[in-house]
Symmetry: C2
Subunit: 221 residues, 2 copies
Amino acid sequence: MEWVGDRAMTTPERVIERISLYRRLLDSLKGEGQATIFSHELAGLARGTATQVRRDMMTIGVTGSPAHGYRAQDLIDAIGLYLDSPEPEGVALVGIGNLGRAIMAFFQGRRPNLRIVAAFDVSPEKVGRVIHGCRCHPLDDLERVVREEGIRVGVVAVPASAAQDVADRLVRGGVRGLVNLAPVRLHVPPGVHTTHVDITMSLEKAAYFARQRAGRKEGEP
Amino acid sequence: MEWVGDRAMTTPERVIERISLYRRLLDSLKGEGQATIFSHELAGLARGTATQVRRDMMTIGVTGSPAHGYRAQDLIDAIGLYLDSPEPEGVALVGIGNLGRAIMAFFQGRRPNLRIVAAFDVSPEKVGRVIHGCRCHPLDDLERVVREEGIRVGVVAVPASAAQDVADRLVRGGVRGLVNLAPVRLHVPPGVHTTHVDITMSLEKAAYFARQRAGRKEGEP
């Protein structure tokens, strides 16, 4: 894998985030019937720069034409090759509360090679059921199921107090990429990637900036 | 407001994110009976550096003692003064699906001055009800209710296709800070802050890095 530019070299996560976003934007443009797109257009939608878009496209091995732009389908295909697993990748979801269910409902069928294949909960009412096409197992079976199914991606959607224990079990089972939705920082070994989706922080941040901006409007420059 | 250091100057969002995280960490330390903390300890928990912690603490007006560290309660109080609204701040939630309900359940009672005070949905079964202590209104009343209640913070938890329209209505009603949970980039006027909580992107990123790391383990250095 080659990163183009020193910024990408130091923050590969940001590159992956942008590439994931480009695909979503391109999917919706294609849905609206747009077949080609210029780097500055895509940059406008993604709130980046045209240079950054072109650099990201070089990273995934696509060059556009200055006169005609990129073919949207070419970009979507190249992003798929770069970002997606060549084989179906199973995801384990731990915690089948409202948040867990929202994620199950949202993900089923959206990416053919990224599917929630096993869910876990402590509640006896949920265990043994099939929710959104996904089998619900007792939490005690977590490591065994994750290991047997070769699952490498886990979503932690349990309360804060249980999150570290769940993460430890997922990692012991073989998970190497975690999405943490619990409002707590997880400690994982060096070989494991964690993305923290921190809704509390986002809301506190939105409230802080809303106040700053409302304040500015009422008099300050 | 003063930002200490040029990094904070260029990325104030990151400072707010860290300060929000410190509070969560300090709350749990306090719960475990720890009364004082050193900058390097807090840095370890927040995965930052001691220098950064000390700089962030100067931003919120707290200085620690090299010999005794910081008093946890002093930090929690100072963070509250810096981050929280001095008066109750109402939040509007749009979309009462699984994700919306998860957010309602999670937030009620957690921050005294940041409360979801109005929820909106198109579903006649939800409108008129009180869910998790919060009144559910029809979507058509969005602008009016937001304006009348002086709400400045909004959470967008609707499907992608409806998200931009909802954001436009929130902004017209007076909202200046948005948390967007829909898998689409929102366009808002310059005076409005948006935080995108992108669960799809997080999962695609976790899967990508899980694959890279699993690959490395199986042979590469």
